[in-house]
Symmetry: C2
């Protein structure tokens, strides 16, 4: 037996337990193939710019000027930057003490937190307090910080997570020594949430000695794409209130909605609309990001969380822990400012901003339809419409022979399918097992982000692979090399 | 008793235990006073730009262009950006798949990791492998990730940390449920490290049932400023090898050296120079950052760690955990590139880069002297010279009456002193107790970062306060209001 501290046998078991399929076996294989020269379409992660989405011009101009403040005194600056971007950069620099190169307060720049509060106030119709908004290096970091605060180790603290789920949750819960308590979304009801099922999950966890402490919702859903109705949100809030759970509202896809029947409504708005004791008592933390929506600025790592009804002493503890890593990156905070406080009608950059952002959202809507329709045209594939977020999550009905072939290859059946898809087409997806799913049911997740003009070819290539795969494993002549 | 999940009584005890004095009571009080309109000199944290240090022009030009790639096609771009910055921006954009708005690989952009490896190779005289270099959102995030991998919870895993120490270590160790095992630096020997004392610390920890797993060194020292000699580093490496400890080398101040007798030598170079089994067996992780040195780009959050002799399976686990938060911020990675691969002789921007960076380092050297001399001119204050890093850590010999007055005010004596200093002068320091120190000995930490031209006035103001404070509490007429 090895005895050095970082030998595999000796490291933290929770680190080993954590699984993160979005960059798991499929991603690693895709990276290898790419190195070997194969063209890979990375649809494993919601990373719009990597698939050709252009950044919005205005926020980039503002951040470029903040990075190069000496340009603000250059007589030629007006030749390449519009006046409103210059004014905004000056405003944001005035929020800092020393520009983008100085640590901000660990909660973020007060000026940006104020802009976020104003945005939330306009969105929900209830004022928001900047002191309860903390900026983060992307939403994931915020989620991880809050889970670390909630989970007391020992493996006995449970967090309710929708299944299928975004594996940030399963991974972080493992890492912090908690227990994931799954509640299943109903595929046949368009991934709706059934409150009876939720109660059963909690009862079952308790019978195993688990103390259920928090509930996660992802709205719009990742990987499932559904938008929660106000009725459903009310049920969830009442349930959390009865059970003294803190509700973690992952609302990073709030701008990504592709139908008009169920617009995004925040958990906070629904809570405050309910009034009465619940609206003053229920502990709620909501997350948002610059990585999704029309910005799609994943690489900048900007996010925030807002705390509702969290006791001040706990807010202070969360501040203290944020302080250990000093401050979220400041450029990411500027992007957050530009997202929540975009150009207004009459501003020089307004028309361009509107044209660019509308262009992105309209194209995403089209792509959501193209992808769903494409999947539903394939043999043994059924797919709910992507109402929101950035993903399609088709069910793949694998024939028994395919499942046997996977077993012989030592692979989980959906991993087997996705690997074959990758090798045949270069499309890098994530097997449904990475998100959790019911026994014997198989899915994959793909983003809807490939460029609109590439979409028909990608869906053709998928269909060709899939239908041949299905034909092969339904074929009575049995197993043959793909 | 409250029962909601985020009520203070119910949250993770390790979160409550973590202390981070750099943004503790003194910082909070300073922020309050600033809100009330008082002029505060924030010397609590090594944040050069917040105290007026100008960013280097070249890296900012490169990052501004990367943020606004549409400028690269603008016919006027040559009017305000030099050609080598434009070329560098194009190079760095070619490293990305989708510009700064796309997530990079979780370990950072391969192109930048290659540049870091080249830098390390030149520095140490031994090639470095980019696959063992992971980019991070600042060095603190890297340190936290590694501690989380090492510490197996249960409170029985010990980490050797120099005392006085940078409280990132104490805070993170608490947070992950480890035990800090202190080894004391010898103030009378210019904060040198005594290997006998180190052995005693380990023996004592073991007698308490603690499994010592890792050793931290901070070189140059924070808060103590010493530069470790090659002899001392060899002793440390041999000790870690004998005891099967992983060595965590916090080398973020490697560019900040203010004397010529002991230049910075990396732990890795000393290790590889030693040759033999130790050089192939000792587990070493070294940390670096863009926040210190002449860049001082704290707000950008760029850092890396390099792994030496870490087993591949563990390297993979560290990759997996990094993947959970998707990618370090990409602009911070570009700054890292500019730091390790600066303009070369003959480049258009070389002269300016040299002038700016030399100017900063020479001024820091002067300020290190001004501050040490200033402290040593004060009554009851003695201070070792700041050989490196960014801090002065003077010992404050508090008279018994001052200690009594602190007790009456319900304050730790050095907190009491620092609060009085803050109220009287606006100078925001960190009490020595935040870093750990021997019983009955008091210090404070201040950065050497105030602008050179402000330094005489600040040291005068400090001396006036200190000498009056000392006069008051040494005065036999006893306690009076400051």
């Amino acid at each position: 037996m090895s005895r050095k501290a970082l030998d595999y046998d000796n490291i933290n078991e929770n680190v080993k337990k954590a699984q993160y399929a979005v960059r798991g076996e499929l991603y690693l294989r895709a990276s290898e193939l790419q190195k070997e020269g194969k063209k890979i379409i990375f649809t494993n992660v919601g990373n719009p710019h990597a698939l050709g989405q252009k950044p919005l011009t205005f926020p980039r101009q503002v951040v470029a000027l903040c990075q190069a403040p000496f340009l603000l005194d250059d007589p030629n600056v007006g030749l390449i930057f519009p006046a409103d971007a210059i004014a905004k950069a000056k405003l944001y620099l005035s929020y800092t003490s020393g520009g983008l190169g100085a640590y901000s307060d660990s909660r973020g720049l007060p000026g940006i937190r104020k802009e976020v509060a104003d945005f939330i106030g306009r969105r929900d119709g209830y004022p928001s307090d900047p002191e309860l908004i903390y900026l983060t290096d992307g939403a994931s970091k915020g989620v991880m910080q809050i889970l670390q605060t909630v989970i007391r180790g020992s493996g006995r603290d449970g967090i309710l997570v929708p299944v299928p789920q975004y594996p940030l949750y399963s991974a972080a819960i493992s890492l912090f020594g908690g227990s994931l308590v799954p509640y299943y979304l109903e595929e046949s009801a368009n991934w709706g949430l059934d409150i009876t099922n939720l109660r059963q999950s909690v009862a079952q966890a308790r019978s195993q000695g688990i103390s259920v402490r928090a509930m996660v919702i992802i709205n719009p859903g990742n990987p499932t794409g559904q938008c929660l109705s106000v009725d459903n949100l009310q049920e969830i809030l009442r349930f959390c209130h009865q059970e003294s759970l803190v509700l973690l509202g992952d609302e990073v896809y709030q701008q990504n909605v592709y139908q008009d029947e169920r617009p995004f409504v925040s958990s906070r708005k629904v809570l405050l609309d309910m009034g009465g004791p619940i609206s003053r008592e229920l502990e709620l933390i909501s997350f948002h990001t610059v990585s999704k929506g029309f910005l799609g600025e994943c690489g900048q790592r900007g996010g925030y969380f807002e705390m509702t009804n969290i006791p001040p002493q706990t807010v202070d503890e969360i501040y203290k822990v944020a302080s250990i890593s000093l401050s979220p990156n400041v450029p990411g905070q500027i992007f957050m400012g530009c997202m929540v406080s975009p150009p207004k009608p009459g501003d020089i950059s307004y028309e361009q901003f509107l044209r660019e952002s509308k262009g992105i959202m309209e194209s995403l809507r089209k792509r959501a339809h193209m992808m769903t329709d494409g999947f539903n045209s394939c043999k043994n594939v059924v797919c709910n419409f992507t109402e929101g977020a950035m993903y399609s999550f088709p069910q793949i009905k694998l024939p028994p022979k395919a499942i046997e072939a996977a077993k012989r290859a030592g692979k989980v059946p959906d991993v087997f399918y996705c690997l074959k898809l990758l090798e045949a087409t270069g499309i890098s997806t994530v097997p449904g097992s990475g998100f959790g799913q019911k026994e014997g049911v198989f899915h994959l997740r793909t983003t809807i982000l490939p460029a609109e003009e590439d979409m028909p070819a990608i869906m053709d290539s998928f269909k060709k692979f899939n239908d041949s795969f299905m034909g092969q494993y339904e074929d009575q002549t049995g197993y043959s090399r793909m």
